[in-house]
Amino acid sequence: MVNVTINGKQITVKEGTTILEAANINGILIPTLCFLKDINEIGACRICVVEIEGMERLAAACNNAVEEGMVIYTNSPKVMAARKATLELILSEHDYSCATCARCGNCQLQSLAEEFGLSTDIYKKKVRKIAWNRDFPLIRDNEKCIKCMRCIQVCNKVQGLGIWDICGTGARTTVDVKGGLSIEKADCAACGQCITHCPVGALHERDDKNKVYEALAQTDKVKIVQVAPAVRAAWGEELGLKPEDATMEKMGEALRQIGFDYVFDTNFSADLTIMEEGSEFLARLGDKENNTFPMFTSCCPGWVRFMKSQYPDMVPQLSSAKSPQQMFGAVVKSYFAEKIGRDPKDIISVSVMPCVAKKAECAYENMGSEERGQDVDIVLTTRELIKMIKAANINVAALEDKPLDDPLCDGTGAAVIFGTTGGVMEAALRSAYFLATGKNPDADAFKAVRGYHKGWNEAAFDIEGTKVRCAVASGLGNTRALLEAIRKGEVEYDFVEIMACPGGCAGGGGQPIHPFEMYDVRGERLRKLDFANPIRFSHENPQIKTLYSEFLKAPLGEKSHHLLHTDHWGWKL
């Protein structure tokens, strides 16, 4: 243990504790900007500097450890003056068009400037723009970048992709796509983790809200919206709703007020995915000789992009099932269009996703057909949805819990956990067990695959004498480690679930941004919704049963093949 004094307070902490941590756990707050625990502890922004008695120069609190007897001041005049000057310097190369910035009101730099009460520009503004492909789902605005390097670190250390890199030296040092590539050629998975870890508005998704507004203005069209499972666990965060009050039904009401004709639930197609993917898995398992194992889930487009660019030879091992978003779009523009007697092309299909890669996915050339058009026309992130709710001045607390719209609104407990790591696997096993044996297992029989940590979860289950070896990974760095282990033959599995974002869609790149991680809290919320749902098996979803009996006939059937399955080589990264 080490004894130190911070702002006059005697403190005892473990050896190796940073000054920042020592202060924080004792209720003394030190502002930070570039710091990201365990990921970016590089002392680059110099906002967290503190004074140490006996030292002339200041020290970064985020990456220097306390030493016995240290006397530290976190707010001395020397510290405050230096911090303020640094902040002014950062602002001198930051384009603070705050009013039009995606992160207005949720920007660490803006908050700091406000806390310091900065009034005028001390230094000459030197803002540098760099051209960017504005059609790509991920946008980088160099003029807002503060060179904190978080994006580089997240992409390297957490996602194992290394899309970002330092570019230039000296005064011209900035972040750019590695190797001088343009973003669309860089193997970017579009997971959006760099966005959710950017302290300012330098990284954001392509803004598709205007496309939605334009669509809503078209009176001759049917405007439908589907909402992904993980969105319901996060949408209330920036609207002042408690998690238990931020219900899917309230969100549905908000979407109706915004102007959608039908509000549907992607949970429906999550259950459908299970029927198709689960059946596919059993079929592959029954034909071991002609299939390479493990089979990989295909519901996460960030993961599919990663697989295609990093391990193209393993793509045949991906399930051919489309993601729930795309299955939903296909069902809407076929089954549902028939039901309401409209031309599929009269339907505008919007989805709200916790995800940036979904914006890329919906536009792949084989995600639709000549007759139907694209199955999903526009994808909004959870963040964009929140902005639209705010723009419409909807008092969410006063909204009523009204049911979503038939016939695509039922979702089981198995579907809602698609939004958290391990959920797809668990849901698939619940139904695969039923499909293979004709009986339901205990709904919690497969809980060993739950939870996020470094590495991956594995578990083996016995389904009527057949041993099924499963693994679950989230985060692309973990994914790479798992794939390498599989390739080296160090591990063997039959079925593997991958989600690109740590913790799964709960921690998705399209979710609300906080200075801390939320995937666990949101994942827990989704688990609770599963427990609370009277139906916890996808194959028991009554609307899915109807869909098969009225329209699709059977999983893996002819119609399914056309509508619900895809060729992963049918589009280019």
């Binding site: 450890a65 390097m149 030296t169 000296g170 011209r172």
Partner: protein, 610 residues
């Protein structure tokens, strides 16, 4: 009324002088990865600030050059801008009145020629070609990339054994290098921005002295692969050590009686005591290296046989052939080569020069070794004959000073013309011509005849120490490509079109430093492992203490003390004293920890394994 004033230095002048001095050492420290154009721009601006303003080319031109270069950096230039920069610099160079202007312009010309692609990359792609991936200057400049801040921190923490382990991760000759490494690391030490570079070699010596025997790490499971290594010098033994740790079985073929190569047969005992060298060799051999001494591989057939019997071959035969001065009477009795002289000592056969006059031709470290050896062998008088000035010698300054302190004379600007022998064929003197230093050739001031008469320097022994060659004939006969007499291997120790045959160290580069030979052995081990289809890694398992924060206020550098010259010049015993505990602590704590402060903590602060 007084009419003349004694010139005194004003406060302003003194301050500017001080700033220049500090800038000088800052420039000396060199940033390892800056954009060269940005650096050139900084230099041009500094030069411009020195302009008196009298003449147009310098006053206006340097400013315009800076503006043009900046436009390149800002991505606002086109290809014509580069031509304009070159044209402008050329005209300033031709027309400026004094050196302030024309030398500044010359720097720009050198830049445009030296890194034109970089200029073009900025213009065409708006991007720099350089990449900031080597942030720790000492580690970057160490050919073997030894984790210097790491082991210095371990030294400061009182963990010398771990420091040795940390060094061995990249260099299995910690003790030898502690005593004789040329320490290129120190030249780039960032501490120079404050005062003087850290005495890195001194700290290494301290941990090696302090640690005692530190066992080698355990070898990884045996792979069954066999590698033959020809030459048991620093490069070959380094390669053997790492391959053993990776689980392969190596056999080292050494033509001489002992292992060590130039460490034993080039460097005298007083600099690198045999028993200290043996500490490193013993540790290397403890990993299970097989050794065949007195085994010269000198025919294509033998090489072919090794190639067939082993899975891979590493050729590290060093540079052990003497180079001739090509003077009349070179074969006279009493004329010996440095290689032969040091080889005999390596085999413990010490010469006795009692009462003799010894002349040494050469200006490198080997020449200094021969000189100091001759002094110790009892010679009456030892003189070094060198064509250029002492300042131009390639030997380390401390070697030159050492030799002088021990009583050797250095005759600079003296070019040998012929060797005088008596009727019995015994050398009696060296004829020389006085030189003067003159114009630059290939970037160095070259000597020229001073126009004086030839004269003879009498001597009984003449040592020729003008460099070494490589005995690569058997290898070229075997079919390996050679350049001059060097084996033509690339920076990866690969030999073109000869899979499974690798080469490195002096025999592939020409005579160089020990640490470069070690670096080649390390690279060869990694590449041989890869060639054999493995991906073994080497790591130290040592956790480096976190960097501590304190003001790094100016503090002098601790240098190593030596025995006084009169005590050391009559014996072959080591003469350098290691640091005391107190000295080592002060010196270690001067380290700026560039692995943590600066870019190091972001990326590349430490290579944990390779």
């Amino acid at each position: 009324m007084a009419r003349q004033k004694i010139q005194s230095v004003s406060k302003v002048e003194a301050t500017v002088d001080r700033l220049y001095e500090e800038l000088g050492s800052r420039v000396n420290a060199v940033s390892t990865n800056s954009c060269p154009i940005d650096v050139a721009l900084g230099f041009v601006r500094l030069c411009h600030s020195q302009s008196c303003g009298k003449c147009t080319p310098c006053r206006v031109g340097l400013g315009q050059l800076a503006t043009l270069i900046e436009s390149v950096l800002d991505g606002q230039a086109d290809m014509e801008t580069i031509d304009l920069i070159e044209k402008t610099a050329n005209s300033i160079y031709l027309s400026a009145d004094c050196a302030i202007g024309y030398e500044a312009a010359n720097m720009v010309l050198v830049s445009v020629k030296g890194f034109r692609e970089d200029f073009e990359s900025h213009v065409k792609n708006g991007k720099c070609m350089c990449h900031f991936d080597r942030p720790v200057p000492c580690v970057t400049r160490c050919p073997a990339n030894v984790d210097i801040p790491g082991y210095i921190a371990l030294a400061a923490a009182g963990r010398p054994e771990d420091a040795v382990r940390q060094i061995r991760k990249d260099n299995p000759f910690p003790t030898a290098c502690a005593l004789i490494c040329e320490h290129p690391c120190e030249n780039y030490c960032r501490r120079q921005m404050i005062d003087d570079p850290i005495n890195i070699r001194g700290i290494k010596r301290y941990v090696c002295d302090k640690a005692g025997e530190v066992p080698a790490p355990a070898c990884q499971p045996a792979t069954g692969k066999k590698i033959a290594i020809i030459g048991g010098g620093p490069s070959g033994l380094t390669c053997a050590y790492y391959l053993q740790l990776m689980g392969h079985q190596t056999t080292v073929f050494e033509e001489k009686k002992y292992l060590g190569g130039m460490l034993r047969y080039g460097i005298p005992n007083y600099r690198l005591p045999r028993e200290r060298l043996q500490e490193d060799i013993d540790c290397i051999l403890s990993t299970g290296v097989e050794v065949k001494l007195n085994t010269k591989i000198d025919s294509p057939e033998e090489i072919q046989k090794l190639k067939e019997e082993y899975d891979a071959l590493y050729i590290s035969i060093g540079a052990h052939k003497d180079k001739k001065v090509r003077l009349e009477n070179e074969d006279a009795d009493g004329v010996i080569s440095a290689v032969d002289m040091l080889k005999a000592i390596g085999n413990d056969e010490y010469p006795d020069y009692t009462g003799k006059q010894v002349l040494v031709i050469g200006g490198g470290n080997v020449a200094m070794d021969c000189t100091r050896t001759a002094v110790r062998a009892g010679a009456d008088k030892v003189s070094v004959v060198y064509r250029r000035r002492i300042a131009d010698m390639t030997a380390l300054q401390e070697e030159i000073f050492g030799a002088q302190a021990e009583g050797a004379e250095i005759l600079e600007l003296v070019a040998p013309t012929r060797i005088e022998a008596d009727e019995n064929g015994k050398v009696i003197g060296l004829w020389v011509k006085q030189q003067m230093i003159s114009r630059y050739k290939k970037g160095r001031p070259a000597p020229a005849d001073a126009g004086e008469d030839e004269y003879m320097i009498p001597c009984d022994i003449l040592v020729v120490a003008i460099g070494q060659g490589i005995e690569s004939e058997p290898f070229s006969e075997f079919g390996l490509p050679t350049k001059w007499d060097q084996i033509d291997a690339d920076d990866y120790t690969y030999i073109k079109d000869r899979p499974g045959v690798f080469s490195g160290g002096d025999c592939a580069t020409g005579p160089a430093t020990v640490i470069k030979a070690i670096a080649a052995g390390k690279a060869a081990a990694a590449n041989i492992d890869e060639y054999l289809g493995y991906n073994h890694t080497i790591e130290s398992g040592v956790e480096v203490p976190p960097a501590r924060i304190y003001d790094r206020t100016p503090c002098g550098r601790v240098n190593m003390r030596e025995k006084e010259a009169g005590e050391r010049n009559n014996n072959f015993e080591p003469f350098e004293y290691g640091m005391s505990d107190k000295e080592a602590m002060q010196e270690s704590n001067r380290c700026l920890r560039c692995d943590h402060f600066g870019y190091g903590c972001f990326e590349g602060g430490r290579i944990f394994k390779w």
